[in-house]
Each structure stands twice: as C-alpha cells, then as structure tokens.
Amino acid sequence: MITTSNEDYRRVDALEKVTGEAEFIDDLQFPGMLFAAILRSPYAHARIKSINIDNARKLDGVHAVIPGSESKEYVINLGIGDQHPMAVDKVRYMGEPVAAVIADNRWVAVEALDLIEITYEILEPVLTIKDALKDGAPLVHEKQGNYRRKEGGEYKKNSNIFHHYKLRKGDIERGFADADLVIENTFVMPHRAHCQIEPHGAIARWTSEGKLELYSSTQSPFFVRNCLAEVFNIKSSDITVRVKYIGGGFGGKSDVTIEALVAFIARYVPTRYVKLTLQREEAFTGTVVGRGAEIQVKTGVKRSGEITAEKLTFSIASGAYGSYSLHIVTAGGHNGSGPYEIKNVFADSYGVYTNQPPVGAFRGYSHPESNWAVERQRHIIARKLGIDPVDFRLKNILKPGSFNTLGQKIEKHHGNLEGCLKAVAERLNKIDKEELKRKQPDRYFGKGIAAIMKSPVMATNSASSAILRFNQDGSVDVACSGVEMGQGTKTALRQIAADALGFPLSEVRIKINIDTDISPYGWQTIGSTTTWKAGMAILDAARKAIAVIKENASLVLGAPPDDLEYDGERVFLRGQKKKSLPVKDLIFGYMYPDGRVVGIPVQTYGTYIPEGLTHPDPETGQGNCAAEWTFGAQGALISIDPVTWEVTVLKLLTAIDAGKVINPVLARNQIIGGMVQELGGALSERIIYSGEGTMRNNNFTDYKIPTPEDVADTQMEVIFFETPEPIGPFGARGIAEHGTVGICAVIGNALSDALGVEIKELPLSAETINKYMQQKRK
C-alpha cells in the first residue's frame, strides 16, 4: 500500500494462470524439437566400469546416445570446480546422470534408456556427517586439491570437508568462564525437497555459429548464462537464456540445475532444439535438495539471563557437489546465533561431501536451520533458568546500538525486533490453555515462540536494473530484473513503478518473461531481494524519466526544469497550474502544431547495487556481509492427540518488520506460504535414504508435504511493522523467505510446553513424539 491511488492489489498474472494461458517451459514447442531422457545412477557411490550404448543407438527415432564420460572436459564451477554436466568415471549420488538419449519423442527416448548397459563397481557410500568425518571414511572426491576454487574458505585435504568458515568474536573461553550455566545440545534437520509444482525443464539449441539458445525454468537467467559460458568456454554474450513463467522455485531453481546437462547433450544435435522436462522422481533426485544440517550449540548464560558466550558448530551434509551449499555453510556460521547480541561467539561451519544429491538453496538459506537449533536452545535455557522465554530473549536481542556477530552496528532503521517479539507474545499470552483444556480435556495444548532474522546472502556485486519505455498512448512498459515464479514480485514492482511515476496502475504494464539478450540485467532472483533491489532500480529509472519529461517541457514552457512540477498527468510551472503540458504530449519529445519537435523520447534505464558489501575477513569471519536485515518473531499454538500423538496446529503467527508493505495481500500470502511450507518440515517432511544411499521416497506417495487438511484448523495471523529501510523502495525490505525461518522451532517449543519433552530432531511427527513420550514414561 504505497499510495492511496493504487489500491488494486490483484496479481498481474492471475487471469493468465487461472485460464491456463500462462506459458511454462513444458508448454513450449519448436519445429523439429527433439526430446531427451536421462539415465540416472541407481547407486549412491559406484565406479562406472563400462557403458554400452550400441543397442540404444539402433532404436528407430534415436538421434544420439551420450555417455557421461564424454562430458569430462566440461566443468561446472559455481565456486568449486568439482562437477561435470554428467558423471564421468564414478557416480556420487543416486540420480546422477550417467547417460542421455535424444530422440524424436519422449516415448522413444525413454525406451532407449532401457537398452543402455552399464556395469558398476559399487563403492561404500557416505551418508551422514558423522560417517563422512570418520578417520578413513570413503572419500566422495579423492582429489579435492585439483579443483579450481573461486573464493576463500578452507578445505581439508584427504577428507570430505570441502569448506570451512569460521567466525571469531570476543573471547569464547572468558565468556564461558563468566557463565553460571553452560548448556550444550545438538539439533538436526534432515534433507528436504522443494516440491515445486512445476518440475524443472530446459530446452537448448546450438546454432550453426556455435551460439547457445536456452530456455529454462531457472530463477537466475543471467547467472546461468555466465556459468554456461565458463562450462563451454564461450563468451556469455554468445548465450541467450530465456525464462517464461516458473511454477515455484524456493531456491531449488536458483544456481544451475539441469541447464549444463541439457546444453551439453544438445551439442550432439546441432541446430536442433532439445527439450528435457524432469519427471517428479527426477526433480527429487536429479536437481538439488535442501537443509540437511547438524548444529551443535553450547551456550553460556548468567542466572540473570544474560548470554555470555555461544559456540556453534554448523555442518551441512552437502551431498556430492559442494558449490551449491558453499554460501549456505558460510551464512550458517555468520548468522548462526540469531538476532542476539552476544559478546563472545565462536562458530565453525563445515560443508561436508556425502553421497546424496547436492544440497542447494532452499527458502531461508541456512536461517531456518540455525534458527531451529538456536531458538530451541533459547527455550531450553529459559526453562532451565525458570525465566519467561520472551523475557529471556528480550534481555539479549539486538537493539539499536548493538553489534551483531558480523560486527555490524544495528541501527533503529534495521527494524523493530522488540516490537515483533512483544506482539507475538501478547497474542500468545491471551490464549488461555486451561480454558482450551476445559473444552477438550483429553488433549494437550502448547505454545511456542521464536525470534527470527534473515539477511540476503548474496554476491557483493549483485546488481539489479530496470527499463521504462513509454508508449504512444501515454502508458509505460516496465522491464526489470527478477523472475516471476509465483512469489508475486512483478505485481509489487508494477505498483512501485506506478507510484514512482504517479501513473494509475492501468497505465503500467510489466514484462514477465526474461530474455538475457534484451532484458535488464539481474544477478539472481534469490534472497528475498527482488522487490527491494529491482524496486530501487525502477525508482532510479523513474527519476530519470521524470527528469527527461521535465527537460522536454522546459523547452516548451520556457522555464528551467527545476522550476517545473510533475504530477503524473501534467508538467506545470511551480505555482501556476494553468501553464502546463500533459505528460502524454511530452514522451516522444514535444511536437508543435506545425510538426516541429523539441526534446527527446523518454526511455530510461535504472540500476541498483548494494553499497559497501565485503567478503568476510578470513580470520574473524566478520565483515559487511549483509546489506540489510529483516527481523521478526513467530509463534504457534498446537494441540496434541494423546492417543496417536498427532499434532494439530491451531495458530501460526508471524510479526515482521517489512519496512513498508507494498502489497498487503501478497505480503500476507507470502508469509503464510512460508509458514505452511516450513510446517511440512516441522511435522512430516524428510528425505529417507536406504542404508545403501538410495532415496526411498522421491515421490509424493511417501514424501509428505502439508495438505489443505493439515492447516484447515490453523488460524494464520501476520502482523506487519513498518520501520522504513533507507535503502529500500519506499522503505521496503525483503520478506519472501522469512515466513519459514522460525516454524520448526516454534512447533518444537510448543511441544516442550505441552508435553515437557525436548525433541531435537525433525520432523516432529506423531511417531517421533510417541518415541519421546515412551522414553519419558520409563
């Protein structure tokens, strides 16, 4: 809600989506297009002894059969050059591509896969962090030293540790010495799947000039272009990446997933389009998974409730390739202690190779992981000290003037964390558990609370940009960075453009599709940064457009631009509204009745890049690594069936300092969507591996995300605070991932409140609760 004139919050994509007109990658058809199918490893860890493609090649309709070994020269390097487009000599996870078929249609491609013969020598897989770190553990990568690394961070030779980040603030030993009580716990969060409604897809074609045309369901078209340019050793401008609508991303379509694979195999059929759309099972095994963290927290605290020290070990079972979780590992270290001012912090975070699909970005990007540990820990400590959990948090939270773990000074404009915590606490305090118990005496009831914070984890040069192009009818077209994947950002950005120009929404169109040949540059659509950063670029472009319009008018009105005013409809001389010109008449220069034109057409480009970001210091891990912070608090009220131990969530709430709410409908939905998505992680979701490392539930039969029935009894409440962020458009800051951050912790804390058990593993399923209750009764 940025102006009173724009109260139409409808999504720009609503009608197209409900009618089915919206185009997604699998809708695209091209003349002569061929179809790919991928043969994937059934083993988690095995050496490829031989591949025989002769019979597959002979099948009618098959154009090419490509063994993975042929991708040896091509290296995907998003930080660590540890991966090829397909498995070369050994497979490192179940689902890794070992061969591909390109055929006239999907049926033939799939049938040809059956005819490829592969022999494997099965190797012992590494499936847990503990096993991966054992002395003499099998190595997922034997020769880490040979990989090219783009950034700092340490790896450990002859081990499965590929990345180590450390944070050192204050004197940890002194901090523990000052404590009256030291509490240590280990919390785990299993691998999860993103479960986008649309599985990943890509279509690639190499032109006869050796240029690459790629359609993809990626969140990061320019990033993909840059990555593929390196893989194939061509100029990034020789690659065109086009993105239509995406059916959900959640981080699982950021970075690079299947693009290098599809582009690599398309080389075998030059000039032909090759399409690959993943099956649901492949979206689980053949892209990236999320989470997979183990977090040890040791906290020193005084009787008064002051936290004196915190030591964290944050490890990710990163799967077979490291680049995708490199920054998750780093962020888990530097944000790990949550929104608290703790004088002495000592954190180590580790990226650990395992024989599982690579871990990549997943809504929240290390924050839900560390929040699960730290906010459970806060709850456990408060109970031990006999202090109210809210008072305990309030005593230690970041406030204006305090310094966070990175050494950044917190200012008032960073947001009202205290207000958010109190708002959630106040609502939870109003709920009378005894009253609920009187109505349903056979059930248990519990309340939980957590403080949350999140910063975008991003490259220091992550730029955004926008183009405003005015039309003859006086309307404006906006093109800007950012992919529309369901989050609604293009709707909010259109509002920002309308507001900045003083135009009614009806006169503003926003371009959905991205084409890297002509679209304004945007780093990646990740980190809850698009409305903020692309919004700033639009404001920049709008300022420039208004300047040109005034410049044009000044030539006609005979007054300097500084003396002119602009209100979206007209440009007029300050104080003399009668001496004015319609904006519509100024946007291609101004034409006099005799045909003479003065001034220039209005078409402007705006950019934004966060200022002053740095890499962390290699010794202390500190630095200006976060451009902005969003703070908030979450809470839950649950009831528990004492017969089955099933949890019913009666209330979920989030209070968040959004800076400025651009679109109240979408902002609320975005937060609720985050809460419900993470509720799956809290109650039912986890990837299950067999002892051999195969994924056993790569389907919706056995990977259980929340259904409408799971939230049918849940009252959702979202409370917005608006402390303007000076570097955000109209004061807005990122909110897209934040709904997820504290949900596992609030449910865990509510269970502790209801049943007196401290569960430190996920999901908090009925089965898990039963196990803890049986132990408690013993």
């Binding site: 049926w107 049938e111 089955t644 259980k704 259904t707 409408p708 029935e709």
Partner: protein
Amino acid sequence: MFRRFEYVSPLNLQEAIQTLTKHEQAVVFAGGTDLLPGLRLKSGSKKLLVDIKRCPELKGIKEEQDHLSIGALTTIREIQQNQLIKEKYRALWDAANVFGCLEIRNRATVGGNIVHASPGAESGTPLFAFEAEVEITGLQERRVVPIREFWLDAGKVDLGSGEIVSRILLPKHEREVDSRYARVSRVKGMDLAALGITVVVIDPGSPDTREIRVALSAVERTPYRNSEAEAILSHRELDDSIIAFAKERLIASIHPRETSLRARPEYKRAMVGNLLERLLKEMGVYR
C-alpha cells in the same frame, strides 16, 4: 511419463472378459489410480488397457435378499455418499471418508481397491471385518469367495486369467451392528494409511451375546484379524484388564515391516492398542 500402451473400451462384461482372455498384455483399467502410476515403469510397457468403465454389470449399490451388493466399479465417492452404508456399515463409510483425496475418491473403485491386495488398502479392513464376499466373473463361470480367501499374499489375489471381480457382497446384519474405522497417517490430508483398524461390534448392548471383530491393515502381508484377541473381547463385559490382555495378544501377534516408509513397527504396535481402545470407547462398549 507413461510408456506406450494400447487401449480398448468394451461395452459389456462378456466382451471385456473375452478381451482379457485373448491378450497376454491385457490389464483391467477401472479407476486407474493404482494402474496408471505403474504405467510409468519399464514393466508398464506395451500393456493393453481394458477399460471396464462402460460395463453396466459392474455398477451400482443394491440391497438384495441376504446381502448388500456393491458393483466393483462403485467409486469410493459413491460409498461415501451412500446413506445405507453410512448407517449399517459405518466402518466402510469411515474409511471412504479418509480415502485419498476427493479427486481420487471420484476415480478409485472398490473393486480396484481390493484386487491389488495392498496390505494397507483403506477398504480392506472394513470389508474383512464385515466378512464380505467377492463375486468373480470369468469366461465360463461365476464364483463367490470369502474375502479372507481372496487375498493370497501382498499383491496377490485369487483371480485367474480372464477373471474380473464383478461385485462385493456385504452380508446383511441379523443383529444390531456398530462399527468404526480409524487410521494413522503422516499428514491429515491425502496419504496412505500407516496403520488402519476396523472394529465391528455385533450386539453392542448385550455383553453376553456380543461379538467383537478387529481387523488391521499395514501390519501383515494382507489385512489381518486375530481370533484370540477377538475371543478375549467377545461375549463379556470389558474392563481394563480384559482390554490390556486383548491388546497384548493382538500386538504380540503382528509383524509390521521394519522397512515401511509410513511408520516404524514400534509406533504401529503402540497405535494398534491405542486405537482399539479409542474405537471401543467411541462405540460405548468400554469406558
């Protein structure tokens, strides 16, 4: 993605049976909710789908002299909407209510739910506890087998080539009957039962003549009943020690799979006891 397959849609049962007899690759296609996912596998290649949905003989719920006849093509949604089933065969109605999701209930059929002999099939325990019979129609003959004998093993039923399950017959109650179905699942919406339990109480009001049947799903290779536990519960007033004894016997007799993705054996065992007690309380035969 589906493998390539052939499709025919016969207009009556005889034609369907003839097609099934003639073609080795022929499979019956009713609701398709179990069949279609399998067509995506290599083993699903080149099947001939015999769509029986146009065979009128397989449709409808009818009250007959000594049983309620349920056509094999009856959808779960039709079960859910049937007033007589709700009143007289409550456990079956309960099961229909939690079966899949609305879209699945609209497609899935009762016949389809039993022919795959899934240990966890939602309708399995109610049909078992009501002692339903299965009518099977073949090229030459029609035969009726008790459902207990119809399930041979997980995924295996007593059905010859060219035979189709045509009806399911629920015996009419001679005495008053109450029943309930309950299950545990990982999410509250669409899910397979991690464990299902049906309790049927005949003559609920008079402990002396009362008969109690208990059927469990997803604990053995086929839907399961235990005669000892039923004997302990039947023909007497129920008190805490009787319930504890019956639970103990029942739980000790089952062998839930260690490798189930839906629940660990310990949880299933605990829930067998807890849900049995809950359902008996719900029906007012134990306090």
